[in-house]
């Protein structure tokens, strides 16, 4: 399988006054194309820090993160920004949609930012919204959408530019269980279509639904478990209580 992302000995420390907190401790992680990786761990385990550092949103203190054949943190802020626009997508717990833009306008943002024409961006945005089941809501603004719909718009925005990897940080954290379920189903469907997804969650049900589960504790990876084969067959029996 093609390797999309490779992190080697990544270390990240936060300093507050005299205190130091090691948020990531010599982390190694590889993500292959087409994988669905969930990252779980208790509060403060470093899972969100992992997402921030490996996506290039945050700096690291040591180690290397390779993405698309390049060392991410050797790039300037400008290069990393361009990299994100063209190769990565992001989905966050609080949706973070622009309230004064319609659904279509929110989705086409990364396309416009990476230089696509207005017409092409709109066309692709509408197609992506359709793909996530919101083809009938393209002109609605976030305040006119339910929580689940807003998160679908956020997912569509993450997909619009055809990224190599989508990062999702607690995408169901602000949703009720039924809506969370439908959003997760969407993500699974997209994964089956070939999307590479790294998802951070504290929800065991969400975490276990992934193809691969990485467990974090105190900044270190304590477990890296392949839960399903590429064709979706579970490789670890649920009865063993993994992930609980």
């Amino acid at each position: 399988m093609e390797t999309i992302l490779r992190a080697e000995s990544v270390r990240k420390t936060y300093r507050t006054g005299a205190d130091e907190v090691v948020a990531l401790c010599d982390l190694d992680l590889t993500v292959h194309a087409g994988e669905f990786v969930s990252v779980m761990g208790p509060s403060g385990s470093g899972k969100t820090t992992l997402l921030n550092c490996l996506s290039g949103l945050d700096d690291i203190d040591s180690g290397e993160v390779w993405f698309d054949g390049r060392i991410l943190h050797d790039m300037s802020d400008l290069e990393r920004t361009r990299q994100r626009a063209s190769t990565m997508g992001f989905v966050f717990q609080a949706f973070n949609l622009i309230p004064v833009f319609s659904a279509a306008e929110n989705v086409e943002l990364p396309l416009l930012l990476s230089g696509h024409s207005t017409g092409d961006s709109r066309k692709r945005a509408v197609e992506t919204l359709d793909r996530v089941g919101l083809g009938h809501r393209v002109d609605h603004r976030p305040m006119e959408l339910s929580g689940g719909e807003q998160q679908r718009v956020a997912i569509a925005r993450a997909l619009a530019s055809g990224p190599q990897l989508v990062w999702a940080d607690e995408p169901t954290g602000a949703l009720d269980s039924e809506t969370a379920g439908s959003v997760m189903q969407l993500l699974h469907d997209l994964h089956h279509e070939g999307l590479t997804l790294v998802l951070v969650t504290h929800d065991p049900e969400v975490g276990q639904s992934a193809q691969r589960l990485v467990r974090m504790r105190d900044g270190a990876m304590v477990e890296d478990l392949t839960l399903r084969s590429p064709d979706g067959e579970r490789t670890v029996p649920q009865s063993l209580g993994i992930g609980t």
Partner: protein
């Protein structure tokens, strides 16, 4: 092709420079376009508040520029009213000399052809007119003691210049026994056409029938006697004076008639001045001794200088309000970025470059700036109109000499200039704020976490920055002290203090560092004024702006680092009141926002209270000024030089104790590279019994010594700090030892003199004091004692008596105290006007507070929901917001007042400034009024958002996610 003035071109360049990048962004970048256009439309109330808060700055800038237009136009009106087509004047004293002058230059044809054209062959002159005049008094129903009898041929006068509209003279010359009088005479003596008036000419009363009344315009308004705007002219047929003086030998104690030859240059009233150099060269080529008075140029130059000076004064004072406006803009944009923080973080995460984020934010700001600047420029017209209206009231006083009628006027170019400057200031502020905002931490923004601690890289840069700033501070201070640079002396040490603060902050911590640096800056901000004084440096008005802004910044910084402690103390004192604790918590937590709000209030309050201090301290000086100016004399008597009162006659008046006769005229002074007109008083030994006080004695040990030396030595004079200035203290003040050339503009006689000593500020237009021998050398037969200082036990009674007794001599008596009171009242009026002008900036502070409160309620909606859910009632919620608004307003007011207190105290300590000898006095009434008004306005502004906060329903507030 339309030609644009340089003002319009410069303004256009500014508008284009600050607008093109945003216009390009709007057209080329769809994301920028959407973000910039969508928010203003969707958040209309907020957008309106931003525009309202921002437009005041441009309004103030435009208003101050329009003040200049009004002054310029009003003084230029003098050119139309008192000169018309007259560009240059040559004059001589005496009938015989007058005949000779007229014989040589009396008509255009008398001038050689070679002198009538420029080197390119273009004509210089389009008219020559001769007049003869002498000061008189006029009696009708009432008396006009100071008037002028003028002989001129009306037919010649009407043809003089390009049009009789400009000339102001129409109809036939008055016949024998008739006179044409100006509207000023008609009004003051209450005369109409057909009435008989009596004019006193060289001691003879002559009855004349009023044949015509002329508007004060052009030749009809020709008034060379003093600086008043009015022209009390009585026109009679040529030859009248010669007939009246036939067989009469005028004694040397009276000034003979003056003959004037007026020249009109091609080009009309204002454009003719452009040929003045050629005209003077042409005339002096005929006679190098000829003294040519550039009368039109003097008025137009005075118009420009007066306009520039007053405009600059208002502009500088207005800058405080503009500074408050800048703080408001920064505050608004920082709050907008707070609101949209998670969206901005997401945009960065999606791949929006920092530069694009800056462009999007700044473009939105540019849209607000364009609208607010345009509205502000229009508001500025009305502000200027109000100032002109109020200033006209202030400037129109009893004493004609110090009076000036203002006519509101403005150029569209000025309004555009105001718009351009306002737009530029707003855009620069917005761009810098946007750059600052764009440095958000992406993750913290997305997750709405507190701002991350400064990274190691930024901390590492601090010692370098500290070293650079410290070095710059040292270098600037040293070079400023060496070269006496006022701004470097003021700000160099402050920069040094900041640099040292940056060096110590790592060790001492922010709080301690800000505390000591702020205290030192405050101390230096107070101390540098006396230091400048000790170095004999007089500060510009702009230095006050520097002082105010730096001290306010230091005071706000000092308060902010101790804000938490203050809040805790207040909470404790309030007995744990929840509304107060909640009301204090937010301003303390949102330090940047609070600091901006405090700054807005403090800056404007500082200026208003500072002006109150100055006004009060000036007003308290009436007694001292009167005593110092009057010396041993309390009354100034002027009379017509053609028939002056005699000193013995004055001494014979009941109650008069002593009289000092003085000669008085206007001279031309060449000093410090420029030539200006100013009065001169020639004094004799009588003045030495009670001369005006001297402030600087030069090489002399006693004042008596200095006066005696000036009396004896024709090469010495005494001047004061207002010498040669038209608006307040001079920017170039002479010192003992300085040399200048004094010239009689009529005869051209001149002499180089040295300043022997400096008198106290001259409130009675005495000008330079010149010993009578020296005066006579220069002014010849015009050295006539027509002005007197009189001492008496009952000055008011003597003033009244002299005015009634010596009507024929055109005697006007006025106590020094009345003149000083009138001018101080005028001063006070101007200070009040300026306070009201700056007070417009208070609206900025209040609007700013309104915006902060509205944002507060919106941001804390969830918290309010929680408070309500746990039992907080609506009223305490409302009270907490009202307390918050009051807290900020009170702190801002206290800072402004405190800095004003300290700043004015330092001013009074200055050993050689214009406030030397002043006693520090607190204008309590004004301070309480301004503080109360600000507090009331702030509470009113906060009332609506506070009540809205109280009505928030817990359930809906807790449901709010984004």
């Amino acid at each position: 092709m339309v030609a644009f003035s340089s003002t319009v071109v410069t303004s256009m360049v500014i508008v284009v420079l600050v607008s093109v990048p945003f216009l390009v962004g709007l057209v080329v970048h769809p994301v920028t376009r959407r973000l910039a256009l969508r928010y203003p439309r969707r958040r209309l109330t907020e957008s309106l508040l931003i525009v309202l808060g921002s437009l005041l700055g441009t309004g103030i800038i435009t208003g101050s520029l329009i003040v200049g237009d009004t002054i310029d136009r009003s003084i230029r009106a003098i050119a139309y009213e008192q000169l018309g087509p007259i560009d240059e004047v040559v004059s001589v004293s005496g009938l015989e000399a007058g005949e000779q002058l007229v014989g040589r230059y009396g008509s255009l044809e008398d001038l050689p052809a070679s002198t009538r054209t420029t080197a390119d062959g273009d004509p210089i002159f389009d008219g020559v007119l001769t007049m003869m005049g002498t000061p008189i008094s006029v009696v009708g129903e009432r008396t006009q003691p100071r008037a002028q009898l003028l002989e001129v041929d009306f037919v010649d006068a009407a043809a003089f210049g390009s049009h009789d509209e400009i000339t102001g003279i129409t109809g036939p010359t008055p016949g024998p026994g008739q006179a044409a009088i100006t509207t000023d005479v008609a009004a003051n003596v209450d005369a109409e056409v057909g009435d008989t008036i009596t004019v006193h000419v060289y001691g003879q009363p002559v009855d004349l029938v009023v044949a015509r009344i002329l508007d004060r315009k052009g030749v009809a308004g020709f008034w060379p006697l003093d600086s008043r705007q009015q022209a009390y002219n009585v026109f009679v047929t040529p030859g009248s004076l010669a007939a009246a003086l036939s067989g009469v030998e005028l004694p040397p104690t009276v000034e003979p008639p003056q003959t004037y030859v007026a020249f009109s240059n091609v080009g009309g009233v204002e454009e003719g001045e452009k040929l003045t150099d050629e005209a003077v060269a042409a005339l002096t080529s005929l006679d190098p001794q000829l003294s040519v008075q550039e009368v039109k140029r003097e008025v137009l130059t005075a118009a420009e200088e007066g306009a520039a000076a007053l405009s600059q004064l208002y502009f500088t004072m207005g800058m405080f309000a503009v500074a408050a406006g800048i703080l408001l803009l920064v505050n608004i944009f920082v709050m907008l970025s707070d609101e949209r923080r998670s969206q901005l973080g997401m945009l960065r995460a999606l791949g929006m470059r920092r530069a694009t984020l800056v462009m999007a934010f700044a473009t939105e700001g540019w849209i607000y700036a364009v609208i607010s600047s345009a509205c502000g420029a229009i508001l500025g017209i009305e502000l200027g109109r109000i100032i002109a209206w109020r200033a006209n009231d202030i400037l129109t006083i009893d004493d004609d000499v110090f009076s000036l009628n203002l006519t509101f006027a403005y150029d569209r170019a000025t309004v555009f200039q105001g718009f351009a400057i306002g737009l530029a200031i707003a855009v620069v502020t917005i761009v810098f704020t946007s750059i600052r905002i764009s440095r958000l931490n992406v993750i913290a923004a997305i997750r709405d976490l507190p701002v991350a601690h400064a990274g190691a890289r930024r901390q590492g840069r601090r010692p370098v920055a500290a070293a650079i700033v410290t070095f710059l501070g040292v270098a600037w201070s040293v070079s400023a002290f060496a070269s006496h640079g006022q701004y470097g002396i003021a700000m160099g040490p402050m920069l040094l203090i900041v640099g040292l603060g940056l060096l110590t902050v790592g060790r001492l911590g922010t709080r301690a560092t800000v505390t000591w640096t702020s205290l030192l800056v405050l101390a230096w901000g107070t101390a540098f004024i006396p230091v400048l004084g000790s170095l004999d440096i007089d500060g510009d008005i702009q230095l006050f702006l520097v002082q105010g802004l730096t001290m306010c910044s230091a005071a706000v910084g000092l308060l902010m680092v101790h804000h938490k402690a203050l809040g805790a103390w207040l909470s404790e004192r309030s007995g744990g009141s929840l509304p107060i604790r909640v009301g204090l918590a937010y301003p303390i937590a949102k330090g940047f926002r609070t600091a901006m709000s405090l700054g807005m209030f403090a800056i404007v309050i500082l200026t208003i209270v500072y002006l109150s201090f100055i006004s009060l301290m000036f007003g308290n000086q009436a007694n001292r000024i009167t005593e110092e100016i009057a010396g041993g004399y309390g009354l100034v008597v002027t009379s017509n030089p053609s028939d002056p009162v005699d000193a013995d006659q004055l001494l014979a008046v009941d109650g008069v104790d002593a009289v000092a006769p003085l000669a008085y005229s206007y001279a031309s002074y060449e000093y410090a590279g420029s030539t200006d007109g100013w009065p001169v008083t020639g004094f004799g030994p009588e003045l030495l019994t009670g001369p005006p006080r001297l402030e600087e004695l030069g090489d002399f040990e006693h004042e008596d010594e200095a006066w005696a030396a000036v009396l004896d030595d024709p090469g010495l004079i005494i001047v004061d700090e207002f010498f040669l200035s038209d608006a307040g203290p001079s920017s170039v003040i002479p010192s003992p030892g300085d040399e200048m050339t004094i010239t009689d503009p009529v005869s051209g006689n001149h002499r180089t003199v040295t300043v022997a000593a400096m008198a106290t500020a001259d409130f009675i237009a005495a000008g330079a004091y010149f010993g009578i021998d020296g005066y006579t050398d220069v002014f010849g037969d015009r050295a006539v004692a027509s002005r007197f200082y009189v001492s008496a036990s009952d000055l008011d009674a003597v003033e009244d008596s002299i005015g009634r007794t010596f009507v024929a001599n055109g005697a006007e008596a006025r106590t020094v105290r009345a003149t000083v009171d009138g001018l101080l009242a005028q001063n006070n009026g101007f200070f009040t006007l300026m306070q009201q002008f700056v007070g417009v900036g208070l609206l900025v502070g209040v609007a700013g507070l309104g915006v902060v409160m509205i944002r507060s309620v919106r941001e804390r909606r969830r918290e309010i929901g929680v408070l309500r859910a746990i039992g907080f009632e609506p009223r305490p919620v409302t009270r907490s917001f009202l307390f918050e608004a009051s807290f900020i307003a009170v702190e801002g007011v206290l800072i402004g007042v405190a800095v004003a207190f300290v700043g004015t105290y330092g001013l009074v300590l200055n050993s050689s400034g214009f406030m030397e000898g002043f006693e520090w006095a607190v204008p309590w009434r004004d301070v309480i009024f301004v503080a109360g008004l600000t507090l009331a306005a702030s509470i009113l502004t906060a009332l609506i958002p506070a009540r809205h906060a109280g009505r928030i329903q817990p359930a809906s507030a807790l449901r709010t996610v984004d």
